[in-house]
């Protein structure tokens, strides 16, 4: 899933300064699960905005709503009536959702309430770690199912490097060295010999080097395109 973290309130406040009627809009998918963009956070952020205005002697109207997924035109359409009277929308969906909003409602100012950070998951309740870098050319088959691209500080394809100390990464003692983990995993699977195969330089053009990326499923494309 996509993981996002809340923006500092002061930044949000600055963005929204001067607007009188604001819609705080959550998204019911990834950002709900990572507790930054769900209905609960909509309520909290709206309360903060109102209270902040009150503390400064002003008054704003805050509308609270959420969509099932902000990255679908049909779901975004559902909130047309709600946002039409608003001066601004504070979307706490990931960057995809924010852009869908901005594209669908070009006359309304749309602002991001979260920083979209990575693709990952909760390794335990409340703790999220990056697990995928979206490189477009997956090598997990050769690394015991552990991704060095997203989990190694240097994205090394042939590790570990000399900075691996007692299973930890030299960059941060909190970060496990993924190449150490890959070694252990392959050992468990009796595939340690795999470590000796050098992974050749990767074609990075399938990844972040090649924006914007696009995927077409020919068999599903309708004649009349959505949007």
């Amino acid at each position: 899933m996509i993981v996002a973290s809340s923006k500092p309130f002061q930044e949000i406040k600055q963005m929204l300064s001067g607007f009188k009627k604001i819609c705080v809009l959550g998204c019911g998918s990834c950002v709900t699960i990572c507790h930054t963009g769900g209905e609960k956070q909509v309520t909290e952020l709206a309360a903060q905005l109102r209270l902040s205005a009150k503390l400064e002697g002003g008054q704003i109207e805050v509308v609270e709503d959420s969509t099932l997924r902000q990255c679908e035109w049909e779901f975004v359409e559902d909130i047309k009536e709600i946002v039409k009277d608003c001066d601004a929308v504070l979307s706490i969906a990931c960057g995809v959702g924010v852009q869908y909003m901005a594209e669908r409602f070009p006359k309304i100012r749309v602002f991001p309430g979260v920083n979209t950070t990575f693709m990952g998951g909760p390794i335990e309740q409340g703790i999220f770690w990056e697990r995928c870098a979206g490189c477009g050319n997956c090598i997990l088959a050769t690394t015991g199912g552990l991704c060095p691209v997203s989990r190694c500080a240097k994205s090394l394809l042939n590790g570990p490097c000399g900075g691996s100390q007692n299973g930890k990464c030299e960059v941060s003692q909190e970060t496990p060295c993924v190449w150490n983990q890959i070694y252990d995993q392959l050992d468990t699977q009796q595939l340690l010999a795999t470590m000796e195969t050098i992974i050749p330089p990767k074609d990075w053009t399938t990844g972040m080097e090649n924006h914007p990326r696009k995927m077409i499923l020919e068999h599903l494309v309708m004649k009349k395109q959505i949007s």
Binding site: T32, I33, G38, K54
Partner: protein, 690 residues
Amino acid sequence: MQNDKLKFKGGNEEAPCILACPIRQDARDYVQLIARGRFSEAFRLVRERNPLPSACGRICIHPCETKCRRNSTEAPIAIAWLKRFLGDNFSEETRERTTEKYPERIAIIGAGPAGLAAANDLALLGYSCTIFESNSTPGGMLRMGVPTYRLPRTAIDKDVEFIKKLGVEIKYNTTLGVDITFDSLKREGFSAIFIGVGLLESRTLNIEGVNLDGVLKGVSFLHEVNTKGNAKIGKNVLVIGGGAVAMDCARTALRLKPQKVSVACLESRKEMPTTDFEIEEAIHEGVALYNSVGPKRILGKDGKVSGLETLKVKYVFDEQKRFNPAFYEGSESVIEADTIILAIGQASNLSFLKGQEGIQVTRGGTIIVNPSTFRTTVHGVYAGGDIVLGRGTMTESMAQGKKAAIAIHNALRNTTLKDEEWSDKPAVPDLATSRIALIKKEQKQEMPAMMPLDKRLNSFDEVELGFPLDIAVREAQRCMNCGAGAFVDDNLCVGCLTCVRICPFEVPKIKKGDTTAYIDGDCQSCGLCIVECPAKAISFKTPLEDRGKDTLEAVFQEKFIQGIKPLIVNFYCQYSAYNEDKIDTLNNLLFFHVRRIGVLGLGKVDPSLYLKAFELGAHGVLVTACKDDTCHFCKEREWVERRTKFTTQLLSGLGMDTRRFKTHFISSQTGKEILGLAFKMVEELKDLPL
């Protein structure tokens, strides 16, 4: 909530206590209201279904408690005693009658539990009812049979007063078959007659010696003591029987000061058909108990009783579990006695049916009715209660009266009104074994200040003195709110697993193949998952739980509230609110500056509600949570701490002075500690620019 049936949502499993009750009294919900200090509403809820709450709270055999799921953690909630607490201390004067008025008048024979319940419910449906009672006072067997040390007559009178206020007329000293007849009632214009006369006679034994001088019948003996305050007995009294009436006879006899009172019954101690409590009290008061003995013959001397010859019982119930006692031959022994009271069951007196051969009766002397319409075999005549059941409890008789009331209404109006409360519902299953260890054990509150023995036996005053307010609340707060806890809205749940991971009782699950969480009947209603669910997919089934929101909004409805500076809103945990005698300890200064919002467990309060308090106009928010050992829930402290940190971060983000939001963990919400904290906050905020 007045007169409104509580509206529950999500799931249809009903609390076992409610299902166990013959009248389907909302036991869980009135207990929950008591736990929240909402006593008048609790009484109103009781009264909605129960026409005799004060009496019922004392003598009901409380099948609700037998089924209470707290039995598996330590002991059931004292549901009946809590009802008595309400009946003794609260009243309902404002209950509105239906605006519907029907022209038909209903005659009810007998002012006992069945008759009173029928009259009560028929009056509420819009009918004029007249009860004809052969005695000069109401209550039927409650007054004639139950001793005053168990049921003071003021309790009956209070209950009956309410029924009279509904417009029910009671004509005393009027006996069917003597002063009035079925024909005279019809001539007077009554459209329906309900017979609820009960069982007025004692069953007798068919053994040698029953006619000897000194053999008394239980019901007559109790009736005599209850009306005259005395009865003639000897020095050595033996009661035959093992049920509630036998215990009543024995304990009543004790108060007439003989030298000895004994009880002999067929049943073993465990088989005796009365509550343990009654047996224990009888023994405690000095009654000698002879179990598993059957009466062979009553011995006499000069025409007077001298003892009872008994046989040892082999078994009371046969293999088909029918009452069919068998005895050991040659096991005779003698219990000496100069008075023998027969309390082996009651029988009907059907003399009022003379000339009414159309009304069919059973061989056992009960009236035959259609069990769903309560019609006898004569048109327009209905019957219910003990005269139909043969043997029933007070609540079973009330249930009959209530059901008959609806049946009579349906017959007269040709409608199909149905009381949904009696419909079949699945019960919340027993607590999972693994759960029991996770739930805090909470000692059942004892009935306080039971009258000491020497005083008891010198009077017919009530033995149980009733719960005082703080004890009642403590007891009610043990309730696990079965079937009314959290539930997940499948349409909103995103399957994030937060509830599954954080529940201290390990209740929520995502069942195999499902994509949404499921919370079963073991939910303890702590509300942690409701607050943490990012999709707001979880809420309480019970409408009694607003998690502080409605109370907060109500506070700010107060006139001139915005003029108070500083104004502090105190969110406090109600689980530690009633552990001292003094409830209202906020002094005048604080009374002016502080508004209190009690929530049953602060784990269910959303941090955004604290912000809301500021938004509405509070200058300070003071959270006073329980210390671990004083709260009903587990992990409350941990979560209140987390949320305090979180809320502080939100408020700091706004640039708010952190002195305006404080959390403390205290052992009492009513003592000096809270007073000091509130006072300190008021003083601190006075100096801040507000």
